[in-house]
Symmetry: C2
Subunit: 802 residues, 2 copies
């Protein structure tokens, strides 16, 4: 369902809330600041893309190699998305990027407009003139949904970009007298290193069309991307250069080396193309020789380039180019891209102060970046088996950062992207079918499994969608795929976990994290198994779902690494992460990671008060400095005690006071996090956006609820920071969240009304949302110790099922 315009009522609440003009309010894209998170840890990129588009065309500001002198170069981490806001040079514009990841890849097919001497190396930030890069400043840089523009000072060139799902659209305005040149670098990449490009090719098809591909070996072990690149003007001169020629040269001397060769292949390919100056002097005819008139020079329109991608083949790239970008009207592409964003962002209309509006829509913008559409216009895609498949009945997607996104991003999609949810899950099921390991994706991108992080969280995403009755998913097929995954002998410590009920610390890294995640994932599969009559499977999964208990140490009252011989691992530092059986969190964080059985956890701890104490400790006991340096994504602004918002394992924790009868503690923490850790500015994210998970946390929290347990139909209540939100659903249905007495001080929920009746539960359900309706939060600056204090209204816990 597409809503082109949102209507935002102007409300006056407090001085802190800026007044929004009616006019501007029509279009949510105005609140998006694509630079948000581009400084330091956010790892977002400001470039042009359409929602879920494969092409994400963005400036790369440096080319730090992944290895330096044969060793991992820590500096590269800053460039996971290619762009760092504090940099002063732009290397060029590449077509594929990750939004907010903590490891990286991509950066395909760098294009750079230049004038003067052709450099084929990027140069360095300190000596940009020695390469093709250029200085720039943020004053002459613009980023909007679907549009990016920058002035390249070294070349006096204005660069503008927009995109379709599979085609990057470039427009370059050069100084009128200069030969216009384009550098194309097939070696450039993100997390690049010398041997990363396995092979690449370039081929001139005619005087305006070039095709090629590159295969890289990095985070994705065997990644192939093809391109077709069309120029709006005839190439006047060009050169294809192989900077790393192979020892074996064959009989290529039989080619005339004085002529530019229209084809090249190798491991380090660069190309340059030259076009006429845009200043075109009129031809003087013989007849005009005596004319008194000054000849009027004509200025040619800006040079435009269309770069279509395909992971299938060069024919696929050409087809995508022809079908998706048939014309040369840059402004039309730009308007189309903007309209796509406007429609997607309008799925939730909100009323709030300007900063919150900006945080919200920037968050929604980032939430709608990944996964990306990963098939050609004709439905062909490259599977995880590197084979070419036809997507029948679904659209294939890639970039599944599931360890992050199962938590809130995919649950958000079940509400505002139900069709894409079905597509994404069908993409995962196809992946499982095609996987030589018979596994659902763990962390997959571009026909590759990168095996990043822990757990098999695709199961949680699938269970969540099925429990919420997302249509278009074959339940039996899904259950089969989940089972194959959980019982796989190949993945992680599945095998030993299956035998012993926990992952022994001496058997592999992150043993506690794995045990807890596997246990939760098994519970998720159980939710789907329950839809069948397979009692044996249900019993097995029910047992596995309780495996979290096997790493709980009653002595320390914390989750703790257990050895093969069932003794607890010593030494044990509950604040520490690295090498301690945990990842991106410590024992406090992970003791709270039993999202499917918080009541059971509470029993283990010795009762609700102990859970409450644990949470209090977590939010107050400061994280020692050495743990900062251990953990990748920690910035002091993102820390409360030893709660680290930049890392995902804690994301549900602020909501857990709803299970201890103290929801006001959750409300305070949630408002604190929203206010302190989200800003619509380059430095505005306190950690990696992680393919939209950080953003999705904000979207939910701003509306007043959060999916603590994906795989249930429940969203646990928090404290909304908006005035009003309307979720536009299928069939013109709406679900409205209205917040009364909203202010910066009124962070405590006094009363909740659902369709005008008082609502006592600590959660709302997916069905309540999707059938349409209204929820009203009444806020105040004092806690209401009555609401949410009794067990009867608490959200789902496996233990309740006993």
């Amino acid at each position: 369902m597409v809503h082109r315009f949102i209507k935002i009522l102007v409300l006056h609440f407090s001085l802190a809330i800026a007044i929004i003009s009616n006019c501007a309010a029509q279009d949510p894209t105005q609140y998006v600041n694509p630079f948000t998170g581009t400084q330091d840890m956010g790892h977002t990129f400001p470039g042009a893309t359409v929602p879920f588009g494969m092409v994400q065309l963005s400036p790369d500001t440096d080319t730090i190699p992944f290895y330096e002198n044969g060793e991992y170069n820590k500096e590269v981490y800053r460039y996971c998305a290619g762009y760092q806001y504090n940099d002063s040079t732009i290397v060029g514009f590449s077509h594929t990027h990750f939004n907010g990841t903590g490891h990286s890849d991509l950066g395909d097919f760098l294009v750079m407009p230049i004038t003067g001497k052709v450099h084929l190396n990027p140069g360095t930030s300190s000596e940009p003139e020695k390469g093709y890069r250029s200085r720039f400043s943020h004053e002459s840089e613009t980023a909007q949904p679907g549009y990016y523009s920058v002035y390249l000072a070294d070349y006096d060139v204005k660069a503008e970009h927009t995109a379709t799902a599979r085609v990057g659209i470039h427009q370059y305005t050069y100084p009128p007298n200069e030969n216009r040149k384009i550098v194309l670098d097939l070696f450039h990449g993100i997390y690049n290193y010398d041997d990363k490009v396995i092979w690449s090719t370039l081929q001139l098809i005619n005087d305006t069309l070039v095709v090629g591909y590159r295969q890289t070996q990095g985070w994705a072990r065997d990644r192939k991307v093809f391109f077709a690149m069309a120029f709006s003007e005839k190439i006047q001169a060009y050169g294809f250069v192989n900077e790393k020629p192979e020892k074996y040269r064959g009989f290529w001397y039989n080619l005339n080396q004085d002529e530019p060769l229209p084809a090249a292949s190798g491991k380090k390919l660069k190309a340059w193309f030259q076009f006429k100056p845009s200043l075109k002097m009129p031809t003087i005819n013989g007849n005009d020789l005596n004319s008194q008139r000054e000849p009027i020079p004509e200025i040619l329109p800006p040079l435009k380039i269309k770069v279509a991608l395909s992971a299938v083949s060069q024919e696929g790239a050409l087809k995508n180019l022809q079908h998706e970008a048939p014309h040369w009207d840059f402004e039309k592409y730009r308007a189309d891209a903007k309209n796509l964003w406007s429609a997607e962002l309008s799925k939730i209309t909100i009323e709030a102060g300007e900063k919150i509006m900006k945080n919200f829509y920037t968050g929604l913008y980032h939430a709608f970046m990944h996964p990306v559409i990963y098939q050609d216009i004709d439905g062909k895609y490259r599977g995880i088996d590197q084979g070419i498949h036809q997507a029948n009945g679904f659209t294939n997607y890639t970039i599944f950062s599931l360890w992050d996104t199962f938590r809130a991003l995919h649950p958000l999609f079940t509400i505002v992207q139900p069709d894409r949810t079905s597509d994404m899950i069908n993409s995962m099921l196809a992946h499982q079918e095609q996987s030589p390991y018979n596994l659902l994706p763990i962390w997959s991108h571009y026909s590759n499994e990168n095996w990043c992080m822990t757990g098999y969280h695709a199961t949680a995403v699938i269970a969540d969608a099925l429990v919420k009755n997302i249509i278009g998913i074959d339940t039996a097929k899904a259950l089969h795929a989940m089972k194959r995954t959980a019982w796989s002998p190949h993945y992680g410590q599945n095998k030993i976990y299956r035998i012993r009920g926990y992952v022994p610390f001496d058997d592999g890294a992150y043993s506690v994290t794995k045990t807890l995640e596997y246990s939760y994932n098994d519970w998720a599969i159980l939710q789907v198994a329950k839809m069948t009559e397979n009692n044996k499977l249900k019993r097995a999964l029910r047992l596995r779902a309780e495996n979290y208990r096997n790493v709980f140490d009653p002595e320390t009252n914390l989750m703790r690494p257990k050895m093969h011989d069932k003794t607890w691992r010593s030494p044990f530092d509950p604040l520490s992460t690295h090498g301690q059986g945990f990842i991106e969190g410590n024992a406090y964080t992970y003791t709270c990671f039993v999202p499917h059985d918080i009541q059971g956890l509470s029993h283990l701890l010795g009762g609700i008060q102990n859970l409450s104490d644990l949470l209090d400790t977590l939010f107050t006991l400061p994280l020692p400095y050495e743990n900062y340096s251990q953990s990748e994504d920690i910035e002091s602004v993102g820390v409360i005690g030893n709660y680290v918002h930049g890392n995902e394992p804690g994301h549900h924790i602020p909501y857990l006071y709803n299970y201890t009868g103290e929801p006001w503690k959750s409300q305070a923490k949630i408002r604190q996090i929203m206010q302190k850790m989200y800003h619509p500015t380059p430095e505005g994210l306190c950690g990696n956006d992680d393919c939209g998970q950080m953003s999705a946390w904000y979207i939910f929290s701003a509306m007043g609820f959060y999916p603590v347990t994906p795989g249930t139909d429940q969203y646990v209540l928090g404290s909304p920071n908006i005035q009003k939100a309307t979720i536009h659903l299928r069939d013109n249905k709406k679900f409205t969240i209205e917040v009364k007495n909203q202010s910066q001080e009124n962070i405590y929920v006094q009363r909740v009304l659902y369709n005008d009746k008082e609502w006592h539960q600590s959660f709302i359900t997916h069905e309540m949302l999707t059938q349409g309706g209204q929820i009203i939060f009444e806020m105040g600056n004092k806690i209401n110790s009555k609401r949410g204090a009794t067990p009867s209204g608490r959200p789902y816990s496996l233990s309740n099922e006993h």
Copy 2:
């Protein structure tokens, strides 16, 4: 047209001619000795293939690397076809080979059956036990058209192979008690070196099916071959090993390394598979415990493997496997392959002595090996642009060794393979359309142009076919492709040749050869241009066809390298080749290379007597020893004076006395060459078979005529060494060559009758052949100085057209 059986009449002529039994005579395959040419220079292989099949599954007897210590290793030349008859070990069996080339590539997907300890390296010939190779002897080795078998002594394994066009069929009989093991080596290759494999993959699809591919960078710069490998039994255990692991390992530690991983990729992949012993002890049921009977062990049938290839994709390989090799009946595949050969070889039935029968059918067998079918079962193929195309209206072929094969092999195909001729030419035209250089193939294989040798001889092949009215070729398209090729700025010295009318010696290697070949090729294009009204083009080509004159030095009366400044290059050694402006021939050889204007050449030389003297000198002036070592393919048995039959530029020369009025000299030379330089034995070829060109020379010469000037419809007469030949043509037509008074001494043609009338010409035409009819040679042991002595009966020369 298919003839399953040939009828050979048993004739008794002389003691030298063995008597052939009627029974055996039914099938021409019995005369084929696939070992012919497998020793030393022939560079043929003995393995299993069907006519023009993509899969040519053959033993490789060594793995000499192309580079040793960074330098070209001369020893590798012996292994162009993978096999050397004098070797005593077999490394394994790979699926793709060249027949008779002088440079090499291929050798894909080596399979070796082993027992005992698994070695994944090939070992060395001196210490075979250190690798997977095995000793063997010729006593327990058999090769027949479509079948190869050898006993692998080190493993006590009998290996048998047959093939379909795209599938290699393996059958291995192991000792009964041993675990049966198979090694698959994706690194192995012909002309291999350490960096040759760019990338390769392996994937276990299920317990009997493996797929994968490899991309190599060698003679073909960017070659991709996919395979699907099916086993007749369940794999019991297996291992995929990457022997050259990359520095970047990613998050692959998240896989359980204790389990065999069902997928692998990298630059040096090896795999092993284990199957149960073939001795199967019966299961003893409880009931049988008291049975007095000895349990009778069962012997499982031999292990069979089907390996399908595709240059398109792994799906293509799977499709080829399913459609072309649906069953497991080895003997049926073998019989089918034999029947295909029998049908193809039966296109010419001959009567002759046994040695000649063997030479003839072995020659025909080698002539029908290349080019190979190069498309999937569904018509998809990989083009020279590396794109995937659909072959519409033709079958796509590859392996075009055109510098060799334009001379006699393709002309032979116009007679006995007219449909394939059209397919091959349409493959060349598709190549030209898809080529980034807009060029017809020069020497192409597997979607790659290897740019080997000189000239653009596809033009001669195309002109020859069009002049002979081969149907299914678009003349306009062909002419366009030929023009683009001749006027290409990219290829060879085309550009300077176009400007100056010759290739200056100081402008690049082989300048005289190139000038002469370009000039002949231009004449060939002229033959097609004549079919149009384009007078401008015809004039231009007519001029270019006479460019051979520009490198004729009247001082030395020889073709001689000319400098940029139009002076003749000094020093000048007419017997020398290397660095002298020639390739695989010297000034004598190349002075005779004006196949399109022998009369014009004769005028240049100062008359027919001078041409005759030149020929006499060529056949008598001995080649000094240092020239032997300069030239690759010279064996003393293959030399007459400085005529070197192992190198192609001279192949038409023995026939040139027909232009000097002395055909008897031709007759003597031709018989001498046939008798001395062709033997149906491993050492029986005096030079590389060169994809069938050496063999095609013999086929023609044995029948008494030869295409001196491809691009005309004429075959110049020689001296047949057979008794009778019947060429089976379309529509049940036949052309019969009958030889009267045939004997080893009666080498001189006395009289020729065509359809019972005396034939005075020195040539016959293609039309005479294809309309059916009979030619009778009457032979004697003295020359007939009357026949062929007058100019009126001499074959085509451009000068005649003036």
